[in-house]
Symmetry: C2
Subunit: 207 residues, 2 copies
């Protein structure tokens, strides 16, 4: 019943199956591994069409990661999913401020979401950062405002929140900001998708 049980063999075979199931479809070489890893994470082939990349987004992300850039996430789940060993070897770290008590307090006082305040806090980091947003459209909306106000200049935005309210709009909006992006258009996405995109970038550098 179960022929392969080695994790690396399973992953290799999984990517072969995904490639087969995608038929003859081809992607730009730098985008293919990202699209396939998101499909690997979700078993959802919609991502072959949903994922959109601004020109040079992958290259900019890879270059920044090689230079030790950090990654900011909107959820502890996305943070948990990112391969911190691979990131750490390049000199990077993951930050997520959503569960910080000061963020919760400030959000309550100002009557805004914790996601929004966590983005403001992340904007004060002094390192170059990739922002990977897998859950909260309000995080992506806040990031847009911070970019417009020149309070943050992300290396790359991975904009993949999931859901039914403000999600589609927040993604369309962020694609108009003057920053490189990888976005899952439409309603789909999630913390696991955000982590998968980060890991796909990391694994293009080393594994």
């Amino acid at each position: 019943m179960f022929e392969i049980v080695k994790p690396m063999d399973i992953e290799k075979r999984s990517f072969e199956i995904i490639t087969e199931l995608l038929g003859g479809r081809s992607f730009p070489p730098e985008q293919g591994p990202i699209i396939k890893r998101v499909i690997h994470t979700t078993a959802d082939f919609d991502y072959a069409d949903n994922l959109v990349f601004s020109p040079g987004a992958v290259e900019k992300g890879l270059e920044a990661l090689k230079g030790g850039c950090h990654i900011v996430t909107d959820t502890t789940m996305a943070m948990a999913g990112i391969n911190k060993t691979a990131l750490g070897r390049l000199g990077g770290q993951v930050h997520c401020f959503i569960a910080d008590p000061d963020v919760a307090e400030e959000a309550k006082a100002r009557n805004v979401t914790r996601s929004m305040v966590s983005m403001e806090k992340a904007a004060r980091l002094e390192k170059p950062c990739i922002f990977a947003i897998g859950n909260a459209p309000t995080a992506l909306m806040e990031l847009y405002e911070l970019i417009q106000a020149q309070k943050v200049n992300p290396v790359l935005i991975i904009g993949v929140p999931v859901g039914f309210v403000n999600v589609v709009e927040s993604k369309e909006q962020i694609m108009t900001a003057p920053v490189p992006y990888i976005v899952a258009r439409g309603r789909k996405g999630g913390s696991s998708v955000a982590a998968a995109v980060c890991n796909a970038l990391l694994y293009q550098i080393s594994r």
Copy 2:
């Protein structure tokens, strides 16, 4: 462009939209909130058909949670996604042994996956446990063997690994074990789905 930005309002409106999009479709009352929360987490309506429940599975899970049962996950991501405040109020905790150094060592020595060893370690917990498996088919396969050997007796198995190798088979197999289950049939699932099912159970008790 963005009319609602309060998290609880967004969630409420999201569930209304999901209900609308499901048309007139109705589910058993205890299953509906779980199916809808998984759709909320993934924006993927396939889960309206994929999720299967053994008779009384939800009731058994709810009763155990009210009694302070613990939850075991196969990934730190699923652990991160579970509402530990809600679980803690009932007296429960989440355990995930995948990243434990002793688990990694033993897996290497025995040439098996860390997921398998982490399940063996979890089987030694003395509390009643729900097992929520969102990633590793080998964890679900190992759980099946442990149940057959009467080394573990889960309160409920949430079997939602995702992927292309052994995933479908591991889910079909676990449904033949003499334990209550909630399973996402087919290839789809994931850590976020595992966490969503746990949270949907918790929110049926209190929020």
